[in-house]
């Protein structure tokens, strides 16, 4: 789960990583007290979990109280890439002399956490990686030994720093690595890490916690459902234990197993259809899972036909068939079923007038036509 900037910065503060002083506000009424504490000018930053909020007008500089109130009001009533802004981070602006990048990611191929650092901060690091890979340092961290302080000094030193500055930078990198480990993060980034007359300062913060670790990272558990990361239907699906991704087409798609559902989307697309969603009920799903899947698809507007693609391995086709009968969506349903207990399933569904297919491509074609 992605954390908001202000949440990540709260953790930075716990680890003594210097960040610009700031407070989160949820409404204009609270802003006054914050302005009293911070003084003027301030920067107002929309707290949303998508990139590009600056370009979208979600970051504003205010010199007077009136200006701040007006801008806060504006930002708190705005949507950025479809997400409503509910929170603002109000900070004292820093005098930026230079912007760096430091972060940790998981290297899937090396199977290790990797420290990334660059003197080219404040811009998209993937862009830097693509155009000038030599400007990024990469250090693999042994998953058993963990991050070591000397590794951070090596990086800070190669970034060109000396003396106390080198040591401060190394300490920031080390603490960041400790957060990555302690909090089971998938990604942690300071971009930019600014150099100011007061030393280094984390101006932005990105922190993504591994969802699979929430059983032990209990401090984040309750944040999970508040998160803006998912649409309301996606959250409903999550609560039902189903993997659901919202798309903007009109063919609803349900299948068992992530790979098969992805392939189903591709086949629908191949025949000129537009998938409305990705919905994986998983291997060995029950009738109840199937029913819930249909309910969830039904919540989505603009779905004109539904393609159900079941390959019965562990999944029993008759079980799925019974699930299909438990919910009656308002649009035509095209079912492809094969494998375990296929005959029984066929019998159950034929009785109720469902069209059944054996081939995935035939079913997909029909669903596209049915729109």
């Amino acid at each position: 789960m992605k954390l908001m900037e202000y949440e990540a910065k709260d953790i930075f503060v716990q680890y003594d990583i210097p960040t610009s002083t700031g407070y989160m506000v949820e409404n204009v009424e609270n802003l006054k007290a914050v302005l009293y504490k911070l003084g003027l000018p301030v920067i107002l930053k929309a707290q949303v979990l998508v990139g590009g909020r600056g370009k979208a007008g979600g970051i504003k500089f205010a010199k007077t109280e009136d200006e701040a109130m007006e801008m806060a009001n504006k930002i708190l009533n705005m949507e950025i890439k479809g997400l409503p802004v509910k929170k603002l981070l109000v900070c004292t602006p820093s005098e930026i002399q230079k912007e760096l990048y430091v972060g940790f990611v998981i290297d899937r191929n090396k199977k290790k956490m990797t420290l990334l650092a660059s003197t080219e901060g404040g811009v998209d690091i993937e862009q830097v990686a693509a155009t000038s890979p030599e400007k990024i340092q990469r250090v693999l961290i042994d998953p058993i030994i963990g991050i070591q302080e000397f590794q951070c000094r090596n990086v800070a030193s190669k970034m060109g720093y000396k003396g106390k500055e080198m040591l401060s930078l190394a300490t920031i990198i080390y603490k960041l690595g400790q957060i990555m480990q302690d909090k089971d993060a998938e990604l942690i980034e300071i971009n930019p890490l600014a150099i100011t007359p007061n030393g280094f300062e984390a101006l932005d913060a990105k922190l993504v916690i591994d969802d699979n670790s929430l059983f032990r990272q209990t401090e984040f558990k309750e944040d999970f459902k508040d998160s803006q990361e998912y649409t309301p239907i996606e959250i409903k699906a999550m609560e039902a234990g189903l993997a659901y991704v919202e798309l903007d087409g009109d063919v609803g798609i349900i299948g068992c197993g992530a790979g098969l559902v992805m392939a189903s989307l591709d086949v629908v697309n191949h025949y000129g259809g537009k998938p409305a969603n990705f919905l994986d009920i998983g291997g060995g799903a029950s009738a109840e899972n199937m029913k819930k899947a249909l309910e969830i698809i039904n919540l989505k507007k603009g779905v004109k036909s539904i393609f159900i693609n079941i390959f019965g391995g562990i999944t029993k086709c008759d079980e799925i068939a019974r699930g299909i009968l438990e919910f009656d969506p308002s649009v035509p349903v095209y079912v492809r079923m094969m494998g375990t207990n296929e005959k029984e399933a066929r019998k159950i569904l034929n009785e109720k007038g469902y069209e059944l297919y054996q081939s995935m491509q035939e079913a997909a074609k029909a669903a596209v036509k049915g729109v």
Partner: protein, 284 residues
Amino acid sequence: MAILVDEKTRIVVQGATGRQGQFHSNRMKLYGSKIVGGVTPGKGGQMMGDIPIYDTVEEVEADASIIFVPSRFMKDAALEAISLGLSPVVCITEHVPVQDAMFIIEHAKEQEVDIVGPNTPGLISPGKALLGILPPHIFKEGPIGLLSRSGTLTYEIIDEMTRNDLGQTTALGIGGDPVIGMDFISTLERFEQDKDTKAIVMIGEIGGNAEELAAEYIKEYITKPVVSYIAGKTAPPGKRMGHAGAVISGNTGTAESKIKALNAVGVPVATMPHEVPQLLKDLL
């Protein structure tokens, strides 16, 4: 021949007495896998059908392990198997924290143990042994090695292959997580070494660049024909498509990039799953 497991491999099931563990222990045994015992700490001494249950893996004389424990116990269970040098250790469990996965995999590497998964359907050497949750009836002995990031999509393609009389030496799900033990490259290497494998099917999906790296490896080291399918051509960026690893980040991890890389080294990539058998026939 086959890779990793055959009819002689003595298998212990960790987390044997849970719902999943019980079902699949029996199913594997029924298929002919040499299941020598199940392990559930605290339940040692019982019998589960004709499978004896133990408290510790140490009590079982086994060569390989398959793990069904809940994700929070995966690290400990895997370290237990690794400590005894069992190999492969197949981690069926999904939702394993990535830090635990990295720890297990690094330690296994040091101990020269093969980890399959986590979040894998496991593997099958048809006619010899099933070490996973794959539906064995759709498989058939034959000359094709298959490796895949996906479960049901694999079954779909296997089914088409078997119908077309293209049997398999071994089929292995490498798992859908971002960090996994046996990966495309290490599995391709085994298939290359296996005399009975005459051609290889590699099923990829969006996310990461494992397929691109596999393409480079195929060019350099694989002499056998390889056919591929890549799922997720219509997936949007930034969204996890079911599997934890199936996500396009920025410009990396797209199906286009993978298909391009594979085509560039002479690996045909099927547009739709059912086309795989024909592509194989064209090359054999």
